[in-house]
């Protein structure tokens, strides 16, 4: 198939994930005749309108009715099509949850779910539109793959991998611009975590755009002589348990970081894994069992404890506490 050449995203440049999403969706439509796009009346926000304008024959408006959209996608998938359902994360992972369970995940139909505007940074729209538990919700669903890309390069690569995978995939996307950390040669693989910075003192395990902030935290720690090892986990399920265990064992101290509740998200997944494979002192940076609110991005990150400074502080804390816990263990006490 001929189509538009895939856009190249330059390292260091900032791109909004939603723009990359819309562009990549159009590339997939042009490359793969099976791809169709279903939209829940948010095409201008999520940027699926790029497809609506360029290829209206492949774009199906489903209106403000997400439950039906999921079911329509399931029906189309039975015919060999690859429907991409596009909405905000808060609707994809909540409003049609039973539909995803019964007609998408249970029959393992080839439906792709794109949840834009995930986490706290939703353009001041507040708690109704901030999904802080979508990873937890969809990670718990059998047969569902959960991916949270960090930057433009990874959004494009993850979408291609999701499209090539036969089965349901949830791609967790964010609204606003973030810098590009991966180079043009980056190879994304579903289920594979990637070391984005090497260090020997403390391990930071993060997902989605929070990895950008984890890298900034590593810079803060480096200024204090602390070497942070940063493992980026784009696929929260299936989790790369070997990479998580190895990263934990490398430093013996772990901090997880995510724009998501610490209950059931990446931090929980890492804790479950380490609890079984490599018990390690750890701290979870994330939203602490609360909903968000309307506010500018930087103020939300500050109030809910997601800034690089918060991640770095958690690293210092686990370094201090790790020493105490190890001391207690060596004295034979709990």
């Amino acid at each position: 198939m001929s189509g538009p050449a895939a856009v190249v995203y330059r390292t260091g440049e900032s791109y909004a994930q939603r723009d990359v999403f819309g562009q990549t969706l159009l590339e997939l439509v042009e490359e793969d005749p099976r791809v169709v796009v279903l939209d829940g009346d948010l095409a201008n926000s999520t940027r699926s309108e790029i497809v609506a304008k360029a290829r209206p024959d492949r774009f199906f408006m489903m209106g403000i009715a997400e439950q039906n959209m999921a079911g329509v996608a399931a029906g189309m998938a039975t015919l060999g099509l690859i429907p991409w359902c596009v909405s905000f994360a808060c609707f994809i992972a909540n409003r049609d949850l039973d539909q995803l369970r019964v007609v998408v995940a249970q029959p393992r139909l080839n439906v792709k779910l794109a949840g834009g505007y995930s986490g706290l940074l939703t353009g001041k729209s507040g708690k109704t539109h901030q999904d802080v538990s979508d990873i937890a919700t969809l990670r718990a669903m059998p047969n569902m793959i959960v991916i949270a890309p960090a930057d433009a390069v990874e959004v494009a690569a993850a979408m291609r991998a999701a499209n090539a995978h036969d089965g349901p995939v949830y791609v967790r996307l964010t609204r606003d611009a973030s810098p590009t950390i991966f180079g043009p040669d980056y190879r994304f693989e579903i289920g594979r975590a990637v070391i984005v910075r090497e260090g020997n003192d403390v391990t930071i395990i993060s997902t989605g755009v929070q990895t950008i902030r984890a890298l900034e935290a590593a810079d803060l720690l480096a200024a204090e002589g602390i070497g942070a090892h940063v493992l980026h986990v784009p696929t929260v399920k299936p989790l790369d348990t070997d990479a998580v265990a190895a990263a934990a064992q490398r430093t013996g101290r772990v901090v997880t970081a995510e724009d998501h509740t610490i209950i059931g998200g990446l931090g929980a997944a890492v804790a479950e894994t380490l609890g079984e494979l490599a018990p390690t002192p750890m701290r979870r940076v994330g939203i602490r069992d609360t909903f968000g609110e309307s506010a500018p991005n930087d103020e939300l990150l500050e109030k809910y404890g997601l800034t690089p400074r918060h991640v770095a502080e958690a690293a210092r804390e686990v370094l201090r506490a790790g020493d105490q816990e190890r001391g207690a263990a060596s004295r034979g006490r709990p």
Binding site: G63, N68, G71, V72, T78, L79, L81, D98, P107
Partner: protein, 297 residues
């Protein structure tokens, strides 16, 4: 096509198959000691008509791409569908007695990953029409001429998603989609009448079904869902609708064919005792004898 076009002999065969379907439902539920009866019995005549006359299908090729699609949105009536599919040759009749058993292909609610020939997994109510819309929309997109049929229950249609799907189906003028409303008038518990829950009577699950579907842009046909000839005639009429989706409102009786189950909401889902099975089978035998006596000459 009308009932007379089909021919009395063929109609008698179909009525005979419907009696056999009811027999299999009773025996399978008796064996499983669990399951639904009222709903399966209300839609049995229509399922026999669909699987033996209406649907463009080939039981030897359950994944044939050009086949008509059928979705049972009221998935709890699965045993009636399994029995009709068994009679049609999709699975051995004996397999019906594995219903609800561990590792069976015949799950309590239809599981498309378990049994070839099921076009969609259903069971959580209100969810069947949307995949039907997707199949019809996808068929048009792919240039295929198969028809998609979705059987909806009147309780099933209390779920809002049915009406989301109904809205979108008419937005896309899906005249390759036909819904069949099994209007049996009862649901598991339902709303009480003014006399309360102590009386047998219940408020119907869905008021003014014709007006509802028409308001959503559907062409409405109505028939007696137990008159196989009339139902087949309605299906043929539905095939001729152009420019919008069609729905056949089929008036049925929950528990149809077994006197003590008819119109009794307690038989929505209830194990059947040895004695009740014997009475039910005897009633079906009597219906069969009456049907045989009606043969002219």
């Amino acid at each position: 096509m009308t009932a007379t076009d089909l021919g009395e002999a063929r109609l008698r065969e179909l009525r005979q198959l419907a009696i056999e379907n009811r027999r299999l439902i009773l025996r399978a539920i008796h064996r499983a000691k669990a399951g639904h009866l009222g709903g399966p019995l209300s839609c049995t005549d229509m399922l026999i008509a669909l699987y033996f006359e209406v649907l463009r299908i080939d039981p030897t090729r359950p994944r044939w791409e050009e086949r008509d699609r059928f979705v049972l949105s009221k998935g709890h009536s699965s045993i009636a569908l399994y029995a009709a599919m068994a009679l049609r040759g999709y699975l051995p009749i004996d397999e019906l007695f594995t219903f609800d058993a561990i590792d069976s292909r015949l799950q309590g609610h239809p599981d498309m990953t378990a049994l070839p020939g099921l076009d969609m997994s259903t069971g959580s109510l209100g969810q069947g029409l949307s995949p039907g819309v997707g199949m019809a929309l996808g068929a048009r997109f792919l240039g295929k001429d198969f028809r998609t049929w979705v059987m909806v229950g009147d309780g099933d249609a209390q779920e809002g998603q049915i009406w989301e799907a109904a809205m979108v189906a008419s937005r896309y003028d899906l005249d390759n989609l036909t819904a069949i409303l099994d209007l049996n008038g009862l649901q598991q518990v339902g709303w009480p009448t003014e006399a309360g829950y102590t009386a047998r009577a219940r408020r119907p699950p869905l008021d003014q079904p014709r007006e509802r579907w028409e308001a959503f842009g559907w062409q409405v046909l109505e028939c007696d869902g137990h008159e196989i000839g009339a139902f087949i005639g309605a299906c043929e009429e539905a095939r001729r609708i152009r420019g919008r989706p069609g729905v056949i409102i089929a008036h049925t009786v929950k528990g149809k064919g077994i006197s003590f189950m008819e119109g009794e909401h307690v038989w929505h889902a209830k194990p059947i005792t040895d004695e009740e099975l014997a009475i039910g089978l005897a009633e079906l035998d009597a219906q069969e004898a009456t049907l045989a006596e009606a043969v002219p000459g």
